[in-house]
């Protein structure tokens, strides 16, 4: 297993180089004028334009600019953002924990509630609880996240005053509502996934055998069915954790959480190549690591799967 992990980690290198280069090339291909973007609707003095262009290597050919970037990256230098000229490593260090907090809440919420609701619905197919889960998850999936976010902000924050409206000033409570909103859509998918999986497994031969052997129903569902049903759920959860940590542009914006999503949005807006590439590099690493964790979890859930 150690060798397998090492090999997977080594595979990250070409993936990172490939994706960063792609993003770099795409940002260049947008053909915008980052210097003018920085200045908004004002003319840029010639001298300033020259200075900024030289500082950020804006007129070098793509491979050379990418070379500068990689050279910095190897030394742990993500470069400097075009807006405000802050070091990107510092921006990541500030933004990442914020995103982790709401992603953490969202993840715990969708995992516990989603799996529980799904399993219960799957075991009581066609009953009231099953219909309730199906209907409520369908509703959540149908509502776009920005509507969900704004409506909950206005009703639970502004009108009822239960949650802080926005910002990160009030500790855990500040992150709770955005986390719940963020997790709600995935929760719906997980519940439906778990429900289908449990329902399918309950019809399997091994369940009948176990019943015939006289195993208690709680042992059958609790150990055998659940464990076999969770494989698709874990796959989904793993991929979802990756995307949660990639920041939520809409949710972070509505609740004013200065996380990764917010920084990505800003970088795209002003075509801030260095910042964009920096944050994307981070996302790639998160995704690759999460994919690895999911693969390892398969082996835990299903003893037939082994990694050598």
């Amino acid at each position: 297993m150690g060798r397998y992990v090492a090999r997977r980690l080594l595979q990250m290198l070409p993936v990172i180089i490939g994706t960063t280069f792609l993003v770099f090339a795409l940002v260049t291909a947008m053909g915008g004028d980052p210097v003018q973007n920085l200045y908004g609707e004002r003319p840029v003095p010639e001298g300033i334009r020259a200075a900024l262009t030289a500082q950020y290597h804006l007129d070098d050919p793509l491979p050379i600019r990418y070379g500068y970037y990689l050279a910095g990256l190897v030394q742990g230098d993500f470069g400097t953002s075009l807006s405000g000229s802050r070091p990107i490593s510092e921006m990541i260090a500030d933004a990442w924990p914020e995103t982790l907090r709401i992603a953490g809440i969202a993840f715990v919420f969708e995992m516990i509630i989603g799996v529980a609701a799904g399993v219960m619905a799957g075991m009581r197919r066609g009953k009231f609880l099953d219909n309730l889960v199906l209907l409520s998850t369908l509703t959540v999936i149908a509502i776009p996240i920005f509507v969900l976010g704004q409506v909950s902000q206005i009703f639970l924050g502004v009108k009822a005053g239960i949650f802080p409206v926005s910002g990160t000033n009030e500790g855990f409570m500040s992150y709770l509502l955005p986390g719940l909103v963020l997790g709600s859509v995935s929760l719906a998918y997980i519940a439906r996934l778990a429900r289908a999986s449990v329902a399918e497994n309950l019809r399997m031969d091994y369940v009948r055998t176990a019943k015939a052997k006289g195993l208690s129903p709680s042992r059958i569902t609790g150990i055998h069915v659940l464990r076999n049903s969770l494989i698709p759920v874990v796959t989904y959860l793993g991929a979802d954790l990756g995307s949660l940590m990639g920041g939520a542009i809409v949710t972070e914006r509505i609740f004013n959480i200065p996380g990764v999503g917010y920084n990505l949005f800003k970088a795209i807006q002003i075509e801030d190549g260095p910042a964009l590439v920096g944050f994307v590099t981070l996302l790639v690493i998160v995704y690759v690591v999460m994919a690895l964790v999911v693969d390892l979890l398969y082996a835990v859930l299903d003893p037939r799967i082994r990694y050598a």
């Binding site: 053909g31 915008g32 004028d33 003018q36 973007n37 920085l38 200045y39 908004g40 609707e41 004002r42 003319p43 003095p45 010639e46 001298g47 300033i48 334009r49 020259a50 200075a51 900024l52 262009t53 030289a54 405000g84 000229s85 933004a95 924990p97 982790l100 907090r101 992603a103 953490g104 809440i105 993840f107 715990v108 995992m111 704004q150 902000q153 924050g157 502004v158 005053g161 802080p164 409206v165 926005s166 910002g167 990160t168 000033n169 009030e170 500790g171 855990f172 500040s174 986390g179 914006r253 509505i254 609740f255 004013n256 200065p258 917010y262 949005f265 807006q269 979890l297 835990v300 859930l301």
Partner: protein
Amino acid sequence: MRGSKMVGCAIVVALAATACGGGGSDEGDKGKSGGGFSMNIAEPKRLIPQSTTESGGSQVLSGLFTPLVEFDSKNEPVLAAAESIESPDNKVWTIKIKDATWHDGKPVTAKDYVAAWNWGAYGPNAADGNYFFQTIQGYDEMNPVDPDGEEGPKKAAEPKAKELSGLKAVDDKTIEVTLKAPFAGYKSVLGYTVFYPVPEAALADVKAYEEAPIGQGPFQMDGKWNHDKFVKVKAYKDYKLGDKPKVDSVEFRIFQDQNTAYNDLLANNLDIVDQIPTEVMGTAPSELGDRFKTSTASTFQFVAFPTYDKKYSDPRVRKAISMAIDRDEIIKVVFQDSQSSARSFVSPVVGGYREDTCGEACKFDPAAAKKLLAEAGGIEGNKINIGHNADGGHEQWVNATCDQLKKNLGLECVSQAVPKFAELLTQVENKKFSGMFRMGWIMDYPSMENYLGPLYSTNGSSNYYGYSNKDFDRLLQEGREAKTEEEAIAKWQAAEDILAKDMPVIPLRFGKNVFGYSTNVKNVEMNLFNQVELTKVEKS
């Protein structure tokens, strides 16, 4: 068994991450506690005066610094940090500064001003406010143009000078500024953010300085700039350059989205929102009651005609198009009255503004417009287009304008989106864009000249459409060299009248500050730089 353990672990990790969030609770308080208030800003780009031209940063700096001059209710300059500002010939200006101390207790000297301005004017520092110094002698030596032009590699040429030759500290309290050319309105220019001083020693490490800028204004930093979250300031006890603030502290909370800030205001969690988002403009007056306010702002929106496009070369055509646009209707429907109709070329926020200088040409009169267009022989192809930048949210009003032109002039009109403003400007500069295009202007300093010079003089920095009129240029220059303010304004007004005849652009709208505040504060006012007047705000 192993399975359940690993899942348990993941939960713990996730909880730990959220639990860390709890630590932040004591960092920020709600605006209402203590004797302070909170307001929204956008994340500042920089926090050094010479490089701060956007709204978030200048709002913070307006609390930390006192400018040389401020503006009274008539928008005339009055001395603030300056003891006197005088010039015999409008070319050499002598500025004497009042006794003041930096927030760290050291005295403010003329050398601090000189050093800060030199830093801003020095090309390689790439300060956003760099161009404000271009009227001072010696600027060109500090900002050489690229020697090999557009084509060659953009290697910046090494500037010949590191200091402005036209700027010197005569003694501890006296600054002497020599301009390239006489300019009567220079006193007003000095009120802008980029002319704040910076402690000379701080310029050695600008990055560190920006995290907690030291100023000489009514407020001082309380802790460091907490990026993307907040900047806190508290009243500076030894402030003597003007009225002391009526509150103990201000928290500038950084918002990404105006709608969120507005929701926080409704919940009374935030005390001032400096721009009510257009989406809620319809409901805000009833939700906020008399805490919903508007005031005149300096922005000016217009549509320009490119001189390289023969189609629009007849002034009668340009006037006809202008007369066929119902400004009031568009403002009511599209902007929910958050802007006001422009029928002059100069904003009401500056001295010398006159109503309706555009006259007939800006009056909505479809019949007369049609007649005038027919007189001029119609328009080539009976088709026009209006360019706009898609990133600026202009689609709606440009479409509305087009609809009116279709209806009132029987023209075919197309709204043509270019993704970015920069791209639109580049296309216009290279004469590749055919058609009219939208433009906007934000005032740099409160003077009529600022609405005329950059936009319409032959070499104007923002004259993208290539308008050129010798009489206009001459009058503008005469105004700059005039002995008195009144004389200058008379010349500039004459220049504005030429614009009304030529109609190089169609004035459309002037900006408005539309702001609101919570029940915790009163006396909230916004000035012509679109900033909240921090020292006037009181707790209610």
